[in-house]
Amino acid sequence: MALPKRIIKETERLMAEPVPGISAVPHGDNLRYFDVTIDGPESSPYNHGRYKLELFLPDDYPMTPPKVRFMTKIYHPNIDKLGRICLDVLKSNWSPALQIRTILLSIQALLGAPNPDDPLDPNVAKKWVDDPDDAIREAKVWTWKFGMDYLGFEERKKLRSDFPTMAKGDENYHRAKISDGTT
Protein backbone atom coordinates (compact mmCIF):
# COMPACT_ATOMS: atom_id res chain seq x y z
CA MET A 1 0.00 0.00 0.00
CA ALA A 2 1.41 3.39 -0.97
CA LEU A 3 2.07 5.78 1.88
CA PRO A 4 -0.55 8.56 1.96
CA LYS A 5 0.66 12.03 0.91
CA ARG A 6 -0.28 13.43 4.29
CA ILE A 7 2.19 11.12 6.04
CA ILE A 8 4.96 11.83 3.51
CA LYS A 9 4.45 15.59 3.98
CA GLU A 10 4.50 15.36 7.76
CA THR A 11 7.64 13.24 7.71
CA GLU A 12 9.44 15.61 5.34
CA ARG A 13 8.62 18.57 7.52
CA LEU A 14 9.71 16.78 10.71
CA MET A 15 13.08 16.19 9.02
CA ALA A 16 13.45 19.64 7.47
CA GLU A 17 12.22 21.70 10.43
CA PRO A 18 12.69 19.58 13.55
CA VAL A 19 11.05 20.74 16.76
CA PRO A 20 13.66 21.74 19.38
CA GLY A 21 14.06 18.97 21.97
CA ILE A 22 12.10 16.47 19.89
CA SER A 23 13.16 14.01 17.19
CA ALA A 24 11.07 11.58 15.15
CA VAL A 25 12.67 9.25 12.60
CA PRO A 26 10.71 6.71 10.58
CA HIS A 27 11.90 3.10 10.36
CA GLY A 28 13.36 2.23 6.96
CA ASP A 29 11.16 -0.87 6.67
CA ASN A 30 7.96 0.71 8.04
CA LEU A 31 7.39 4.37 7.28
CA ARG A 32 4.38 4.52 9.63
CA TYR A 33 6.58 3.57 12.61
CA PHE A 34 8.79 6.26 14.19
CA ASP A 35 11.58 6.25 16.74
CA VAL A 36 11.00 9.33 18.85
CA THR A 37 12.96 11.17 21.52
CA ILE A 38 11.58 13.92 23.72
CA ASP A 39 13.74 16.01 26.05
CA GLY A 40 12.30 16.70 29.50
CA PRO A 41 11.24 20.37 29.88
CA GLU A 42 13.71 22.56 31.77
CA SER A 43 11.43 23.50 34.63
CA SER A 44 10.35 19.92 35.31
CA PRO A 45 11.84 17.01 37.28
CA TYR A 46 12.52 15.45 33.85
CA ASN A 47 15.03 18.18 32.93
CA HIS A 48 18.23 16.64 31.42
CA GLY A 49 16.30 13.46 30.69
CA ARG A 50 15.92 12.32 27.07
CA TYR A 51 13.02 9.93 26.70
CA LYS A 52 12.66 7.31 24.00
CA LEU A 53 9.20 6.76 22.60
CA GLU A 54 7.71 4.87 19.69
CA LEU A 55 4.92 6.17 17.47
CA PHE A 56 2.77 4.33 14.96
CA LEU A 57 0.30 5.73 12.44
CA PRO A 58 -2.56 3.23 12.05
CA ASP A 59 -4.30 2.49 8.74
CA ASP A 60 -7.02 5.07 9.29
CA TYR A 61 -4.67 7.90 10.36
CA PRO A 62 -5.43 10.84 10.39
CA MET A 63 -9.03 9.85 11.12
CA THR A 64 -7.74 8.09 14.24
CA PRO A 65 -4.85 9.36 16.40
CA PRO A 66 -1.30 8.04 16.29
CA LYS A 67 -0.40 5.38 18.86
CA VAL A 68 2.43 6.53 21.12
CA ARG A 69 4.29 4.87 23.98
CA PHE A 70 7.25 5.68 26.23
CA MET A 71 10.07 3.14 26.01
CA THR A 72 12.09 4.78 28.79
CA LYS A 73 10.89 4.29 32.36
CA ILE A 74 9.43 7.50 33.77
CA TYR A 75 7.76 8.46 37.06
CA HIS A 76 4.69 10.45 36.00
CA PRO A 77 1.01 10.22 37.04
CA ASN A 78 -0.26 10.09 33.44
CA ILE A 79 2.18 7.47 32.16
CA ASP A 80 1.91 3.86 33.28
CA LYS A 81 4.50 1.14 33.86
CA LEU A 82 4.26 0.03 30.24
CA GLY A 83 4.81 3.55 28.94
CA ARG A 84 1.18 4.10 27.92
CA ILE A 85 0.12 7.74 28.00
CA CYS A 86 -3.14 9.22 29.25
CA LEU A 87 -3.60 12.37 27.20
CA ASP A 88 -6.88 13.75 25.81
CA VAL A 89 -5.53 14.56 22.34
CA LEU A 90 -4.45 10.94 21.93
CA LYS A 91 -8.00 9.81 22.66
CA SER A 92 -11.33 11.66 22.59
CA ASN A 93 -9.87 15.08 21.73
CA TRP A 94 -7.98 13.90 18.68
CA SER A 95 -8.75 15.81 15.50
CA PRO A 96 -7.36 15.16 12.00
CA ALA A 97 -6.13 18.76 12.06
CA LEU A 98 -3.54 17.70 14.65
CA GLN A 99 -0.26 16.16 13.52
CA ILE A 100 2.66 14.05 14.72
CA ARG A 101 4.43 17.31 15.55
CA THR A 102 1.59 18.71 17.68
CA ILE A 103 1.09 15.39 19.48
CA LEU A 104 4.76 15.19 20.45
CA LEU A 105 4.65 18.80 21.67
CA SER A 106 1.58 17.93 23.77
CA ILE A 107 3.45 15.00 25.31
CA GLN A 108 6.41 17.25 26.10
CA ALA A 109 3.99 19.73 27.69
CA LEU A 110 2.47 16.89 29.74
CA LEU A 111 5.94 16.26 31.21
CA GLY A 112 6.01 19.88 32.33
CA ALA A 113 2.45 19.81 33.68
CA PRO A 114 1.49 16.44 35.20
CA ASN A 115 -2.21 16.03 35.75
CA PRO A 116 -2.82 13.83 38.82
CA ASP A 117 -6.59 14.40 38.57
CA ASP A 118 -6.77 12.22 35.47
CA PRO A 119 -4.27 9.53 36.40
CA LEU A 120 -3.15 6.43 34.60
CA ASP A 121 -0.95 5.19 37.44
CA PRO A 122 -3.08 5.63 40.60
CA ASN A 123 -0.14 5.11 43.00
CA VAL A 124 1.99 7.76 41.36
CA ALA A 125 -0.99 10.12 41.18
CA LYS A 126 -1.78 9.63 44.88
CA LYS A 127 1.82 10.46 45.77
CA TRP A 128 1.63 13.54 43.53
CA VAL A 129 -1.40 14.81 45.48
CA ASP A 130 -0.40 13.71 49.01
CA ASP A 131 3.25 14.69 48.94
CA PRO A 132 4.18 16.61 45.78
CA ASP A 133 7.73 17.39 46.99
CA ASP A 134 8.44 13.73 47.45
CA ALA A 135 6.83 12.84 44.11
CA ILE A 136 9.04 15.35 42.31
CA ARG A 137 12.06 13.97 44.12
CA GLU A 138 11.16 10.43 43.01
CA ALA A 139 10.66 11.63 39.43
CA LYS A 140 14.16 13.16 39.49
CA VAL A 141 15.66 9.91 40.78
CA TRP A 142 14.05 8.07 37.85
CA THR A 143 15.29 10.71 35.39
CA TRP A 144 18.82 10.17 36.67
CA LYS A 145 18.47 6.39 36.63
CA PHE A 146 16.74 5.78 33.30
CA GLY A 147 16.62 9.00 31.25
CA MET A 148 20.25 10.05 30.91
CA ASP A 149 21.92 7.23 28.97
CA TYR A 150 22.48 9.57 26.05
CA LEU A 151 25.05 11.57 28.04
CA GLY A 152 28.72 10.66 28.37
CA PHE A 153 30.20 9.82 31.76
CA GLU A 154 31.74 13.26 32.28
CA GLU A 155 28.58 15.13 31.33
CA ARG A 156 26.54 12.99 33.66
CA LYS A 157 29.03 13.54 36.49
CA LYS A 158 28.69 17.31 36.17
CA LEU A 159 24.93 17.03 36.67
CA ARG A 160 25.11 14.64 39.63
CA SER A 161 24.54 17.34 42.24
CA ASP A 162 21.25 18.35 40.56
CA PHE A 163 19.74 14.98 41.40
CA PRO A 164 18.73 13.40 44.69
CA THR A 165 20.62 10.21 45.40
CA MET A 166 18.04 7.78 46.62
CA ALA A 167 14.64 6.50 45.71
CA LYS A 168 11.95 5.89 48.28
CA GLY A 169 12.44 2.47 49.80
CA ASP A 170 16.22 2.57 49.42
CA GLU A 171 18.21 2.14 52.59
CA ASN A 172 19.20 5.46 54.20
CA TYR A 173 16.47 7.19 52.20
CA HIS A 174 15.41 9.45 55.05
CA ARG A 175 18.96 10.42 55.86
CA ALA A 176 19.60 11.27 52.21
CA LYS A 177 16.43 13.32 52.12
CA ILE A 178 17.64 15.44 55.05
CA SER A 179 21.09 15.99 53.53
CA ASP A 180 19.50 17.02 50.21
CA GLY A 181 17.61 19.65 52.12
CA THR A 182 14.32 18.32 50.75
CA THR A 183 12.68 17.99 54.16
Binding site: M1, N30, E54, P58, D59, L82
Partner: protein, 139 residues
Amino acid sequence: MGAKVPRNFRLLEELEKGEKGLGAEACSYGLAEGDDLLMSNWNGTILGPPHSVHENRIYSLKMHCGEEYPDKPPAVQFISQVNLPCVNPRNGVVDPSKLPCLANWNRDMTMETILIELRRYMAHPSHKKLPQPAETLEY
Protein backbone atom coordinates in the same frame (compact mmCIF):
# COMPACT_ATOMS: atom_id res chain seq x y z
CA MET B 1 -2.69 -4.95 2.58
CA GLY B 2 -2.87 -2.51 5.47
CA ALA B 3 -0.27 -0.86 7.65
CA LYS B 4 2.05 -3.29 9.39
CA VAL B 5 1.45 -2.94 13.12
CA PRO B 6 4.83 -3.04 14.93
CA ARG B 7 5.47 -5.66 17.62
CA ASN B 8 4.99 -3.48 20.69
CA PHE B 9 1.72 -1.88 19.56
CA ARG B 10 0.44 -5.28 18.55
CA LEU B 11 1.30 -6.66 22.03
CA LEU B 12 -0.44 -3.66 23.67
CA GLU B 13 -3.59 -4.47 21.63
CA GLU B 14 -3.44 -8.08 22.77
CA LEU B 15 -2.89 -6.99 26.37
CA GLU B 16 -5.94 -4.73 26.30
CA LYS B 17 -8.06 -7.43 24.77
CA GLY B 18 -6.85 -9.89 27.41
CA GLU B 19 -7.42 -7.40 30.27
CA LYS B 20 -10.92 -6.51 29.15
CA GLY B 21 -11.76 -10.18 28.77
CA LEU B 22 -13.02 -9.58 25.23
CA GLY B 23 -11.48 -12.84 24.14
CA ALA B 24 -12.79 -16.37 24.28
CA GLU B 25 -14.20 -17.21 27.70
CA ALA B 26 -12.34 -20.47 28.11
CA CYS B 27 -8.90 -18.91 27.70
CA SER B 28 -7.15 -15.99 29.36
CA TYR B 29 -3.75 -14.41 29.10
CA GLY B 30 -1.74 -11.48 30.43
CA LEU B 31 1.76 -10.13 30.99
CA ALA B 32 3.90 -12.13 33.41
CA GLU B 33 5.43 -8.94 34.83
CA GLY B 34 3.28 -5.80 34.67
CA ASP B 35 6.26 -3.44 34.36
CA ASP B 36 8.13 -5.29 31.61
CA LEU B 37 8.54 -2.58 28.97
CA LEU B 38 9.62 -5.23 26.45
CA MET B 39 6.39 -7.21 27.05
CA SER B 40 8.18 -10.50 26.30
CA ASN B 41 6.80 -12.93 28.86
CA TRP B 42 3.12 -13.85 29.08
CA ASN B 43 1.03 -16.24 31.12
CA GLY B 44 -1.99 -18.03 29.74
CA THR B 45 -4.67 -20.34 31.08
CA ILE B 46 -6.92 -22.80 29.31
CA LEU B 47 -10.07 -24.20 30.84
CA GLY B 48 -10.19 -27.86 29.81
CA PRO B 49 -12.87 -28.56 27.18
CA PRO B 50 -16.08 -30.31 28.29
CA HIS B 51 -16.79 -33.98 27.45
CA SER B 52 -13.09 -34.84 27.72
CA VAL B 53 -10.62 -35.93 30.41
CA HIS B 54 -9.66 -32.24 30.61
CA GLU B 55 -13.10 -31.10 31.75
CA ASN B 56 -12.97 -28.78 34.80
CA ARG B 57 -9.18 -28.65 34.75
CA ILE B 58 -7.31 -25.39 34.44
CA TYR B 59 -4.01 -25.53 32.59
CA SER B 60 -1.47 -22.75 32.96
CA LEU B 61 1.21 -22.08 30.43
CA LYS B 62 3.76 -19.45 29.52
CA MET B 63 4.46 -17.81 26.21
CA HIS B 64 7.56 -15.91 25.19
CA CYS B 65 7.26 -13.30 22.44
CA GLY B 66 10.68 -12.62 20.94
CA GLU B 67 11.81 -9.54 19.04
CA GLU B 68 10.40 -10.90 15.79
CA TYR B 69 6.88 -11.44 17.12
CA PRO B 70 4.34 -11.37 15.46
CA ASP B 71 6.28 -12.30 12.32
CA LYS B 72 7.45 -15.35 14.27
CA PRO B 73 5.19 -17.19 16.73
CA PRO B 74 5.86 -17.12 20.48
CA ALA B 75 7.54 -20.06 22.24
CA VAL B 76 4.84 -21.90 24.19
CA GLN B 77 5.37 -24.06 27.27
CA PHE B 78 2.90 -25.68 29.64
CA ILE B 79 3.41 -25.05 33.36
CA SER B 80 0.73 -27.57 34.37
CA GLN B 81 1.56 -31.14 33.43
CA VAL B 82 -0.45 -32.45 30.51
CA ASN B 83 -0.32 -35.51 28.27
CA LEU B 84 -0.70 -34.41 24.64
CA PRO B 85 1.24 -35.47 21.54
CA CYS B 86 2.33 -31.87 20.80
CA VAL B 87 3.73 -31.34 24.32
CA ASN B 88 7.18 -32.52 25.39
CA PRO B 89 6.48 -34.78 28.43
CA ARG B 90 9.73 -33.77 30.14
CA ASN B 91 9.42 -29.97 30.16
CA GLY B 92 5.99 -29.02 28.80
CA VAL B 93 7.36 -27.30 25.69
CA VAL B 94 4.87 -27.26 22.80
CA ASP B 95 6.46 -28.62 19.63
CA PRO B 96 5.69 -25.96 17.00
CA SER B 97 5.80 -28.51 14.18
CA LYS B 98 2.95 -30.50 15.79
CA LEU B 99 0.46 -27.69 16.39
CA PRO B 100 -0.95 -26.41 13.07
CA CYS B 101 -1.26 -22.72 14.07
CA LEU B 102 2.40 -22.63 15.13
CA ALA B 103 3.56 -24.64 12.11
CA ASN B 104 1.64 -22.37 9.71
CA TRP B 105 1.98 -19.14 11.69
CA ASN B 106 1.12 -15.78 10.13
CA ARG B 107 1.08 -12.33 11.71
CA ASP B 108 -2.72 -12.14 11.83
CA MET B 109 -2.66 -14.84 14.50
CA THR B 110 -2.43 -13.93 18.17
CA MET B 111 -1.65 -15.59 21.49
CA GLU B 112 -5.38 -16.10 21.82
CA THR B 113 -5.37 -18.07 18.55
CA ILE B 114 -2.82 -20.42 20.10
CA LEU B 115 -4.74 -20.91 23.35
CA ILE B 116 -8.00 -21.59 21.50
CA GLU B 117 -6.29 -24.02 19.17
CA LEU B 118 -4.63 -25.86 22.07
CA ARG B 119 -8.05 -26.18 23.71
CA ARG B 120 -9.51 -27.57 20.49
CA TYR B 121 -6.53 -29.93 20.26
CA MET B 122 -7.37 -31.24 23.76
CA ALA B 123 -10.94 -31.92 22.65
CA HIS B 124 -9.87 -33.74 19.48
CA PRO B 125 -11.36 -37.31 19.37
CA SER B 126 -7.90 -38.87 19.47
CA HIS B 127 -6.75 -36.71 22.43
CA LYS B 128 -9.80 -36.30 24.63
CA LYS B 129 -9.42 -39.66 26.39
CA LEU B 130 -5.64 -39.66 26.89
CA PRO B 131 -4.75 -40.48 30.51
CA GLN B 132 -3.60 -37.29 32.31
CA PRO B 133 -1.14 -36.64 35.15
CA ALA B 134 -2.54 -35.62 38.55
CA GLU B 135 -4.11 -32.20 38.35
CA THR B 136 -1.78 -30.21 40.60
CA LEU B 137 1.50 -31.37 39.03
CA GLU B 138 3.75 -28.84 37.30
CA TYR B 139 6.85 -29.20 35.14
